[in-house]
C-alpha cells in the first residue's frame, strides 16, 4: 500500500476499498431469498469468499492445512477466479472448529477435516449444492444454512471482536475497508486531545481487564500530568486461566488495538507505546510485529502520522510466565526489565509509570472498544449495555457447556441467556451447579443466581467479579472444594512473595484446604479459612493477594454443605477428591472373574476364582482401574 500522507488520502483509500469486504456483510434480512435449501441461488455468486478460521484454537485442529488444501483444490477445479480463500480470526464457536464460512451464502461448515475439502469444492463451490452433513448443527440433526440465525450468533453484539472472522487480519487494506484508522485520523484532524478524553469519558467505557475503572478518567489523569515524556501501555498479559479473548483480538484484529493505542497517545501526549504480551502467545506476537511494520510503512504509525506531525511508535515487551505481571505496577517493573513485583499505590501509573513517567495502561479488550466509540460517538456506546456498565463484554465460555468459545454480549445479559441460549446448555444435559467468573480472583456463582444481569456491580454483590471474562461452567460432577483448591494452588504458585499476607497466608489456606480434601478437616478449619481469607484481602499489597481468597470464600458461602460433607462425613459428594473415595465390590454382582485383581497395581484385591472378591481399603490407592475394568459393573465408587 502506498504511504498515506493525509487524512483525506486515507478517506479516499477507504472509499476505494470499502466494498472489498461487503460480500461478507450481507445479513439474512438483506438477502432473504437465496439462503434456503434447496432453492437455487438467486444472487450473484460469481465471486465467493471462503473464510477459514486461523485463530490458535482452530489452527491447532489443522485449519491452516485445510486452507492450503482448499486453495489447491479450488485451482484444480479451475475456480480460482471465482473463489477467494481468506484466513481470518475467531468466529467464537471454537468447539465446532475448524470452521469455514462461505460468503455470500453465509453458510458455516464445522468440524472440518482435510478429507472434506474436495466435497465442499466440488459440491458447493462448483455445483452449488450445500454439503449438508458438514453444516453447522448437522451433527446434532439440525443443520442450518444461515449461521446468523443460530442462537449462539443471534444473541451476540460484537464491538471489540467486530472484525474477528470478518477480515483477514494480515491485510491492512481489509482493516481499512472496515473504517480502519479513520478514528485515528478523525482524532488527529478534528478533535483536540482533551476532546478525545472527553468522548471516552462520556462513553462510560470501563476497563475490561477486571476492576472496571473508567477508561476516560484514567486517560484524563495522565493527560494533565506536566511531564514531557509519557507512555501508553497495552496490557496483553492475559494470565487468567480460561480466558483467551485478548489473544483472539490480537490475532484476529491487531490493527484495532494499535490504532487505539495511537489515539490514547494523542489524547495524553505520549509518543511511545508498549505492548506487554505473554510469551505463551507466539502467533499473536508474530501478528503484532508484522502489523506494526505494515502500519509504519503506510504512514499510520511511526513519525508524522498522516502528515499531521503526530509521532507514535509501538514496541513489544514479552512476558516470561508470571501471572502477577498482569497487575499494573508489576507489569511496569517487568517492562523495565526487573522481577515482576508490584509496589504500593499511590503513586498510580498515571503519575509514575514506566521509567517513572506518566503511563496509561489499558487492557486489550478495552482498547478494542475505542475506535468504534470515536467513530460512532459516546451516545451510541451508552445505548448498549447497562447504565453503569455501558457496552459489551467478551467472555470465554468454557467448561461443561456445549458451545465452548468466545462470545460478546451487552452488559446486563443474564447468565441464563449466556449458558442456555448462547452456550447451548450443559454437556450431556447434566445439572448446572455453578459458574466461575473472574478466574483465580473471582468466585463461583451458584445456579440460583442464573437470572442475575451481569455487570461489574451485580457480580460484586454476589461475591465474585467480572475479571477479564473467563467463564467456566461447572456441572454436578465438579467438586466445589476441589475447584477452590485448584485456584488457591494457582495463586500460591503465582504469588510473587513480596508481601507476607499473600505469600504466607495463601499457603496456610492451601494447607487447610488439603486437610479438608483428605478428610482430615474440622469445622474450626472452616472458620479459620474465612478469617484468614478476610485478612489476606485486607492486608495484601496488590490485586493478586487482595482477591486470591475469593474462590474459597465464595464456595464456603454458597457450597458450605459440600465442605461439611468433606469434613463431617468424610465424603466427596461429586466423587472427585480421591482420598475420600472408596471402591467397593457388590457381592451380589461379583462373578469372581478375577479381572479386577489381575489389574490392581497394588494387589489389594483378594478372592479365589468364582468367589466374591474383596478390596483391602487400607492398601487401596484409589486408582479406579478395577472400577473401569469390571465387566459386570460390580464395583461401586462412593
Amino acid at each position: 500500500m502506498e504511504r498515506i500522507l493525509s487524512f483525506d488520502q486515507l478517506k479516499k483509500q477507504y472509499e476505494a476499498v470499502k466494498h472489498q469486504t461487503d460480500l461478507r456483510l450481507l445479513t439474512l434480512n438483506q438477502a432473504p431469498s437465496f439462503i434456503q435449501l434447496p432453492e437455487p441461488y438467486k444472487r450473484d455468486l460469481s465471486v465467493r469468499h471462503l473464510m477459514v478460521c486461523a485463530d490458535t484454537g482452530c489452527a491447532a485442529s489443522h485449519s491452516l492445512g485445510i486452507a492450503d488444501l482448499l486453495e489447491k483444490t479450488i485451482e484444480k477445479y479451475g475456480l480460482q477466479d471465482k473463489v477467494k480463500v481468506i484466513k481470518t480470526g475467531c468466529f467464537g464457536l471454537c468447539s465446532q472448529g475448524p470452521i469455514v464460512v462461505v460468503h455470500p451464502e453465509r453458510v458455516m461448515y464445522t468440524q472440518l477435516k482435510v478429507e472434506h475439502v474436495e466435497e465442499i469444492v466440488q459440491n458447493h463451490l462448483r455445483d452449488g449444492h450445500y454439503v449438508e452433513h458438514l453444516l453447522l448443527g448437522a451433527r446434532e440433526g439440525n443443520p442450518t444454512t444461515n449461521y446468523d440465525q443460530v442462537d449462539f450468533f443471534r444473541k451476540q453484539t460484537r464491538i471489540a471482536t467486530r472484525n474477528c472472522g470478518l477480515i483477514n487480519p494480515a491485510s491492512l487494506e481489509e482493516y481499512i475497508s472496515q473504517k480502519g484508522y479513520l478514528a485515528l485520523g478523525k482524532c488527529l484532524t478534528e478533535l483536540t486531545p482533551d476532546g478525545v478524553v472527553d468522548v471516552v469519558k462520556k462513553s462510560g467505557l470501563r476497563g475490561r481487564g477486571g476492576a472496571g475503572f473508567p477508561t476516560g478518567m484514567k486517560w484524563g489523569f495522565t493527560a494533565v500530568e506536566k511531564e514531557p515524556q509519557k507512555y501508553v501501555c497495552c496490557n496483553a498479559d492475559e494470565g487468567d486461566p480460561g480466558a483467551f479473548m485478548d489473544r483472539s483480538v490480537l490475532e484476529g484484529d491487531p490493527h484495532s488495538v494499535l490504532e487505539a493505542m495511537a489515539i490514547a497517545g494523542y489524547a495524553i501526549g505520549a509518543d511511545t507505546g508498549f505492548i506487554y504480551i505473554r510469551a505463551e502467545y507466539p502467533s499473536a506476537i508474530r501478528r503484532l510485529l508484522s502489523s506494526i511494520e505494515q502500519a509504519k510503512e503506510a504512514g499510520l504509525l511511526g513519525n508524522n502520522i498522516m502528515g499531521t506531525g503526530f509521532n507514535f511508535n509501538i514496541e513489544l515487551r514479552l512476558g516470561a510466565g508470571a501471572f502477577v505481571c498482569g497487575e499494573e505496577t508489576a507489569l511496569i517493573a517487568s517492562v523495565e526489565g526487573n522481577r515482576g513485583e508490584p509496589r504500593n499505590k499511590p503513586p498510580y501509573p498515571a503519575a509514575k509509570g514506566i521509567y517513572g513517567k506518566p503511563t496509561v495502561i489499558n487492557n486489550v479488550e478495552t482498547l478494542a472498544n475505542i475506535c468504534p466509540i470515536i467513530l460512532n460517538g459516546s451516545d451510541w456506546f451508552r445505548s448498549i449495555g447497562t447504565e453503569k456498565s455501558p457496552g459489551t463484554k467478551v467472555f470465554a465460555l468454557a467448561g461443561k457447556v456445549n458451545n465452548v468459545g468466545l462470545i460478546e454480549v451487552p452488559m446486563g445479559t443474564t447468565l441464563r441467556e449466556i449458558i442456555y441460549e448462547i452456550g447451548g446448555g450443559i454437556v450431556n444435559d447434566k445439572q448446572l451447579k455453578a459458574v466461575q467468573t473472574g478466574g483465580p480472583s473471582g468466585g463461583c456463582i451458584p445456579a440460583r443466581y442464573l437470572d442475575t444481569p451481569i455487570d461489574y456491580e451485580s457480580l460484586q454483590v454476589i461475591g465474585t467479579m467480572m475479571g477479564s471474562g473467563g467463564m467456566i461452567v461447572l456441572d454436578e460432577t465438579t467438586c466445589m472444594v476441589n475447584i477452590a483448591k485448584f485456584y488457591l494452588e494457582f495463586t500460591v504458585d503465582e504469588s510473587c512473595g513480596k508481601c507476607t499476607p499473600c505469600r504466607f497466608g495463601n499457603r496456610y489456606m492451601l494447607d487447610i484446604m488439603n486437610k479438608i480434601t483428605h478428610g482430615q478437616g474440622t469445622r474450626e478449619d472452616l472458620d479459620k479459612l474465612s478469617q484468614l481469607g478476610e485478612t489476606i484481602k485486607e492486608a495484601s499489597l496488590c490485586g493478586l493477594g487482595q482477591s486470591s481468597p475469593n474462590p474459597v470464600l465464595s464456595t464456603i458461602r454458597y457450597f458450605r454443605d459440600e465442605y461439611l460433607a468433606h469434613i463431617d462425613d468424610k465424603r466427596c459428594p461429586a466423587g472427585v477428591c480421591t482420598s475420600l473415595l472408596q471402591y467397593e465390590i457388590v457381592p451380589e454382582l461379583c462373578i469372581g472373574c478375577t479381572i479386577c485383581a489381575k489389574n490392581c497395581p497394588v494387589q489389594c484385591i483378594s478372592g479365589a476364582v468364582r468367589q466374591v472378591h474383596y478390596i483391602d481399603q487400607a492398601a487401596c490407592i484409589k486408582c479406579g482401574l478395577c472400577f473401569s475394568k469390571c465387566p459386570k459393573k460390580a464395583i461401586i465408587r462412593k
Binding site: 483472539s248 526487573n338 515482576g340 465452548v404
Partner: protein, 161 residues
Amino acid sequence: MACSGLQSKFQELDQYIDNLSISDKGSALIPVLHRAQTIFGYLPQDVQAHIADRLDVSTAKVYGVVSFYTFFTMEPRGRFNISVCLGTACFVGGAEAVLKEFEKELKIKSGETTSDFKFSITPVRCVGACSLAPIVMINDKVYPRVKTSEVAHILAEYDEM
C-alpha cells in the same frame, strides 16, 4: 567442535545485544534472556554472567530475574518438551490425570527431564485454546482433547526420534 559451537552461540547472542534498539540496556534484560534461552536452550550460570557483563547490570539482578519468571530455566530441557495445560478448562476436563499419566509413562515428575534428555514435562497455565481442553503440546505440536488412554500412544510417535 563443541567448544566452537558454544562460541558461535555466544557470538549470536552478542550480535543480538549489539543490534538492540532499546536504549536503556537494563530494560533489555528480559528480551535478551528470551533470545539467550532460544539460542542455548537454557540459561546456565556462565550465560547469565555473560549477559550481566554485556548489559552492565549485576549478575545478582540477572539471576533474580531468571529465577522469578517460570519461562526461564537454568536446567537443560529435553528435546521434546511436553506442556500439559493446567488452565481451568483443562483442569475441569481432567488435565491432572493426563499429567499423572505422562509422569507415570516417563517415570519423571512434572518439571523434570528424562535422563537421556529426550523428554521434559512442563505444566503450563492456559495456552488459550480452551475449546480443545484438555490440551497437551509437545514442542509446537498440539494434541487436543487428550485422554489418559492416549498418552502412551502419543509418546510412541516419538519412538524413532
